[in-house]
Symmetry: C2
Subunit: 86 residues, 2 copies
């Protein structure tokens, strides 16, 4: 049994907010429809995640780097789908 | 001029990934259409943000608490819209 510490909780939270984008990516690639997905949201979100990535590199935090690399990749997939299937 | 430190960068990143949800909320409330928005994404994301909020309270970090209170409220607005305008 893993003891619940703030760090374990942080990893659980980071895991959830990262994998959350998987069903959205699958959804737009399956339906090829992105009408209801906000372009503004994914532009702002991808920019923010890119800054989080720079932040992670700056403070040398591998958990911050890895979760944001994955989230950025997923977010860019949604942006690409939005551009392709407007 | 604000000196660029990891903390300033973190605030900029947090600001972007939080306000990103504003255009998505406006979009679904204006169109009343949520077909392309993934329910799974917003369920997982809201759960993750709720854990980030608990994490913020646990480590007594006001920036973590506030950004996640706002993000959770916006994410729950999208979930509510998804439930109402299926």
């Amino acid at each position: 049994m893993v003891e619940m510490t703030p760090q374990v909780l942080g990893y659980m939270a980071g895991f959830l907010t990262t994998v959350a984008f998987v069903p959205q990516v699958l959804h737009v690639f399956r339906t090829r429809s992105t009408k209801d997905v906000s372009l503004g949201m994914f532009l702002l979100f991808s920019s923010g995640v890119a800054l989080w990535l720079v932040y992670g590199v700056w403070i040398s935090s591998w958990p911050v780097i890895w979760t944001n690399v994955v989230t950025l990749a997923l977010s860019l997939c949604v942006l690409w789908a939005k551009w392709k299937w407007r």
